[in-house]
């Protein structure tokens, strides 16, 4: 075997090794920058939204503080949250359609998302980042609305 042929084979192996190891190294670097190899490949799970308000009285708006909990290993940006009064939760004699005004948290948008850290929580305390609810002051007797409650259901969307 000639020296030239041996040298050519060595160079060839070098380039093959380079062709396989460099891309792997680049991929590893990208994964680490994203927060760790394990979390990078993990399937995201839904974030949780919760929030209660009490002491509603007729004609007085009340903010509903919302807690956004992110169970993922990645930070998320919540871009939309919506609240609604859960169907069939109206107390007898106090229909939500005629006795409650619910304003959506329109302050949370794609342009103004709420950042939630990995495995962390964020509380949105005031409208318009949080929903606002008002027990309407009607001209009729609303005693059926005293000391009762409506169930609230939340939905939202986010991205990493």
């Amino acid at each position: 075997m000639s020296t030239d042929a041996s040298s050519t084979r060595v160079r060839s192996r070098f380039w093959v090794l380079a062709a396989t190891s460099i891309p792997l190294a680049v991929l590893a670097a990208v994964a680490l920058r994203a927060g760790g190899a394990a979390s990078f490949s993990a399937e995201p799970v839904p974030f949780r939204i919760s929030g209660d308000v009490s002491g509603l009285v007729p004609g007085v708006p009340a903010d509903v503080p919302l807690t956004l909990a992110n169970p993922n290993a990645q930070p998320i940006r919540v871009t939309r949250v919506r609240a609604e009064i859960a169907p069939d939760s109206d107390p007898p004699g106090c229909l939500s359609a005629s006795h409650v005004a619910l304003e959506q948290p329109t302050g949370i948008t794609s342009d103004a998302p709420a950042a939630v850290p990995a495995h962390g929580t964020v509380v949105l305390r005031t409208y318009p980042s949080a929903p606002r609810i008002t027990l309407l002051a009607t001209a009729s007797n609303d005693d059926a609305c005293k000391s009762t409650s409506f169930a609230l259901a939340y939905t939202g969307s986010a991205h990493s």
């Binding site: 060839s12 380039w15 380079a18 062709a19 460099i22 891309p23 680049v26 991929l27 990208v30 920058r33 994203a34 995201p44 799970v45 839904p46 974030f47 949780r48 939204i49 919760s50 929030g51 209660d52 308000v53 009490s54 002491g55 509603l56 009285v57 007729p58 004609g59 007085v60 009340a62 509903v64 919302l66 993922n72 919540v78 949250v81 859960a86 609810i133 027990l135 002051a137 009607t138 001209a139 009729s140 007797n141 609303d142 005693d143 609305c145 005293k146 000391s147 009762t148 409650s149 409506f150 169930a151 609230l152 259901a153 939340y154 939905t155 939202g156 969307s157 986010a158 991205h159 990493s160």
Partner: protein, 157 residues
């Protein structure tokens, strides 16, 4: 036709992977959220004060005077008043002890409870009427009732 060298292929492959990684770095995943909560109402038990604004002076035996007034709602929210009730408080007044004492028995209330049916805003407002205070025309001397102020208590619901 010119063939690409190994070096060219390798550099091209590396460039392709780096480009793909860069694209991946700009991509993101989306995730939904959901949850629940509750909105509870208060007891609303802030007492509304019933005010009498009409004058009840000038009563005489067998006479009567209509009572009317408004409300003071100390709460920060509207409160609905269904009706107003009035009652005469127990009292006895005997300035001249040679004559019978003037008591609550010399007076009577009618028209109570009076229907209101108003949503009263915070502060003083609304109105009520329909209750009458009368002085009985007794067979006994009622001089001790002259100049007496009859205590009337009001409640609302």
């Amino acid at each position: 036709m010119k063939r690409f060298s190994k070096r060219t292929w390798v550099l091209g492959g590396v460039a392709a992977v780096v480009a793909a990684s860069a694209i991946g770095a700009f991509a993101y995943w989306t995730v939904s959220g959901s949850g629940s909560g509750s909105a509870s109402t208060g007891t609303g038990n802030v007492a509304v004060t019933v005010n009498q604004t009409s004058s009840s002076s000038g009563l005489y035996p067998g006479g009567s005077v209509g009572l009317s007034g408004n409300f003071t709602n100390p709460a920060s929210f509207n409160q609905y008043v269904t009706s107003v009730s009035a009652s005469i408080q127990s009292f006895s007044y005997q300035a001249d002890n040679t004559k019978p004492a003037c008591t609550n028995g010399d007076f009577s209330i009618s028209g109570s409870p009076a229907a209101v049916g108003q949503d009263v805003a915070p502060g003083t407002g609304g109105s009520w009427t329909g209750i009458t205070l009368s002085m009985t025309n007794a067979a006994t001397n009622q001089d001790n009732c002259k100049g007496v102020t009859v205590p009337v208590a009001y409640t609302s619901n």
